[in-house]
């Protein structure tokens, strides 16, 4: 099996409200999968179905090729968006309890917790009450508890909300390391920077439907417009611009540069290659800046949602 998680044709209604309509996704093993979508699109419902918190009205879910069953919760680590801890319980006690609920024995849980607490340099929190922790501190505990039982599938719903940049980086590195150690990670977010950095695959959900999915690079390739951003130094900007416009589609670009350059976005025709543009430009001016315009995840997100919203 190359997919760790397969969601097949899943639908879910809450009364008259349709939360998911025939959604299918495949999450390859050892990948970081971004589940994207605007607020209220159905991401959390889908995640809850995978966690067996909510039952789907129709459709199936497979883990490692086997239909989803209650015992699978042991192989899943889930950090929900709405997350908290028991306020009056001590940090250590609480972490032990949550770990045991995931099927770890008391001793295993204790040893692994010690290890993680040392790694994150939070050992002195063990006997603190949770209500004494700051939000970021509590999130660290929640993260540790989520990954402690070494789940095959990790699901993070908006993991970075509430973290300061330093801790966010720390957690990001931990997630990457867990992926390298063999875990598969699902990310649900609407924060595109983290998607760009982390995800190999994405699926875009909008108004209960999946409207886009695949490898991030493939999607980017599919969405790119063969456009290039160029910065040229020349004595006569207007003349040069007219010259290029005769040959290619040209619009004015806006980016930061040191000199007083002619800044253009140049779109290639269907038969043209990047080399053709470069050769053409170098004949007529000196090139200070040359970059292919690759759509960011954010742009793809906005564009797709807009197209589907109409």
């Amino acid at each position: 099996m190359k997919d760790l998680l397969e969601v097949l044709d899943v639908s879910k209604n809450f009364g008259d409200f349709q939360a998911l309509s025939n959604v299918s996704i495949k999450v390859p093993k050892h990948s970081i999968f971004g589940l994207l979508g605007p607020n209220g699109a159905g991401k959390t419902t889908l995640i809850r179905i995978v966690n067996q918190i909510t039952m789907p009205d129709s459709g199936q879910v497979f883990i490692d090729g086997a239909p989803l069953e209650p015992h699978h919760v042991q192989h899943i680590g889930y950090l929900p968006e709405e997350r908290g801890l028991y306020k009056s319980m001590k940090v250590g006690e609480q972490a032990l309890y949550l770990a045991q609920l995931k099927g770890l024995s008391y001793n295993d849980a204790k040893n692994r917790l010690k290890h993680w607490f040392e790694k994150l340099e939070i050992s002195h929190w063990w006997d603190k009450k949770t209500q004494e922790l700051s939000k970021g501190m509590a999130q660290k505990i929640q993260f540790v508890v989520t990954v402690l039982h070494r789940p095959k599938l990790l699901i993070f719903d908006e993991p970075f909300s509430g973290f300061d940049p330093i801790n966010a980086n720390l957690i990001k590195d931990e997630i990457l390391q867990l992926r390298d150690e063999g875990a598969t990670v699902i990310f649900s977010t609407h924060r595109m920077e983290s998607v760009e950095e982390l995800c190999d695959h994405i699926a875009l959900i909008h108004e209960s439907k999946k409207i886009l999915d695949g490898k991030l690079v493939d999607i980017k390739r599919q969405y790119k417009t063969n456009s290039f951003e160029v910065g040229l130094s020349t004595s006569n900007k207007n003349q040069l611009k007219r010259l290029i416009a005769e040959r290619f589609d040209v619009t004015t670009a806006d980016f930061k540069s040191l000199g007083d350059d002619l800044k253009l976005n140049v779109k290639l025709g269907s038969g043209d290659r990047s080399d053709d543009l470069l050769a053409f430009l170098s004949q007529n001016a000196s090139i200070n800046h040359y970059r292919e315009l690759i759509p960011t995840a954010s742009e793809i997100f906005i564009q797709t949602v807009k197209n589907n919203g109409l």
Binding site: T54, V73, Y78, R83, L85, Y86, K87, S88, L101
Partner: protein, 434 residues
């Protein structure tokens, strides 16, 4: 996987370690004993006041009829007129003046007066009246030529040996004991449901507001969490109740030992002991023991455990569902009322109907309706309920319990993940279909 023991343990410890829980456990008996001590003390202070009653007996009927005791001293005045007697009794600080004018025996009773500064208490007046009545009656009988000693000799006490057709002995005092058992167990269940049902509800709300709930239900089934909560809280409740009983006992003993407060020393008790002494006390106590033996003890204990557990679990699952449905405690009111209503109804039906007529049709009907049956049936059982009736009622209770837990679990499952809007009853019905 079965995480129930783990959840029960956590819920139990979370309750037992809670500061306000510990405080309540130790403060409640202290306050109760303190109050009882205070009340008993005040009553005894009130009683210790010695009252002097001046008696102006112009007719001479009451000679020797009023005997002074620790609390009341009867002071017979020499013959004088009423005005002098009034001033005299005022001077020597008498509580009041009893005035029997010189009238013939037949008509004197309507002319007897009691004069006092403040209105005397009802018990005092009744006591005095009965003493006078007895004496006047004796005098009248004597006047009619009846030999009083013969009447005294002819006096007979009857205490019916009650028996059912099956030959089971019953008695009046037995009825009191049954009544006591019924009321006590019904009241215990009532209190237990209200106190610990609320505790369960609050702990569900706490899980929602602290937002830990979704982390938990990604590991365990919501119904397991709900049952774990109910059982854990119940165990904490049993612990608290047991501690209360032990502490109450200890404190009562300590209070009566150190403070010298005699909890049985109320005037009413004195009168009862007196009454008991008059009738053959020994056989009475023997009777009590027999009555106790005559109670269906085994049946009572088993029934108490089963109906208590059934009734409590039924109601506590409802409390858990309410907790899941709302976001904060202020929103619980509208849902709690319909839960408490049948409980109160059961209690009143038990109190007013069952004790009056344990086998009447109202008692029987309410001892089958599952939301009232635990309390009503527990009150009925001491009076003897056929086994098949008990089993039928228990079966209905268990079936309802299973249905209620199922419904509650549904509401719970959906409700714990719902934030924001306070749900209506229609929403709750919709949730059952999610």
């Amino acid at each position: 996987m079965n995480h129930l023991p783990l959840i029960i343990k956590r819920e139990y410890l979370a309750k037992v370690k809670n500061k306000s829980f510990i405080l309540m456990t130790f403060l409640t008996p202290l306050i109760m004993v303190g109050l009882i001590t205070l009340v008993t003390y005040l009553t005894s202070v009130n009683n210790e006041k010695v009252r002097t009653i001046s008696v102006l007996d112009q007719a001479g009927f009451l000679k020797g009829a009023l005997v002074s005791n620790d609390y009341t001293i009867y002071h017979y005045l020499e013959s004088m007129d009423l005005e002098t007697a009034k001033t005299l009794s005022n001077q020597n600080n008498s509580y009041g003046l009893l005035y029997i004018p010189n009238h013939p025996l037949d008509s004197v009773s309507t002319h007897i007066k009691f004069l006092s500064e403040e209105a005397p208490s009802l018990t005092f007046v009744t006591g005095l009246e009965s003493k006078i009545e007895i004496r006047l009656k004796e005098l009248k009988l004597e006047k009619a030529g009846v030999d009083l000693s013969k009447i005294k000799a002819a006096k007979t006490y009857v205490n019916l040996n009650q028996q059912s057709y099956e030959g089971v002995k019953t008695s009046k005092s037995g009825s009191f004991m049954k009544l006591g058992f019924g009321v006590l167990s019904g009241y215990l269940l009532f209190m237990f449901i209200i106190i610990y049902g609320n505790l369960i509800m609050r702990s569900v709300i706490e899980e929602k507001t602290s937002r830990i709930i979704e982390i938990i239900v990604s590991s365990v089934k919501p119904i397991q969490l709900m049952l774990g909560k109910i059982f854990g809280t119940s165990l904490a409740g049993i612990t608290q109740f047991a501690l209360w009983i032990v502490l109450l006992g200890l404190l009562m003993t300590a209070a009566s030992f150190f403070l010298g407060v005699d909890f049985s020393a109320t005037p009413q008790n004195d009168m009862m002991t007196e009454a008991l002494n008059n009738q053959a006390a020994n056989s009475e106590i023997q009777g009590l023991i027999n009555d106790f033996r005559g109670l269906p003890i085994f049946n009572l204990i088993i029934a108490f455990i089963l109906f208590f557990a059934g009734g409590y679990l039924l109601y506590s699952s409802l409390y858990a569902a309410i907790g899941a449905a709302v976001d904060n405690e202020t929103d619980t009111q509208q849902f709690i009322l319909p839960v408490i209503m049948p409980l109160i109804l059961a209690f009143y039906v038990g109190f007013f109907t069952v004790l009056e007529d344990p086998h009447g049709s109202i008692s029987i009907v309410f001892s089958y309706i599952p939301f009232t049956s635990p309390i009503v049936m527990l009150m009925r059982i001491p009076f003897g309920v056929p086994l098949w009736e008990q089993l039928l009622s228990l079966t209905v209770l268990v079936i309802t319990f299973v249905i209620t837990v199922w419904v509650a679990a549904k509401i719970y499952r959906v409700g714990i993940l719902m934030y924001g809007k306070k749900p209506s009853y229609r929403d709750l019905v919709k949730w059952l279909k999610y």
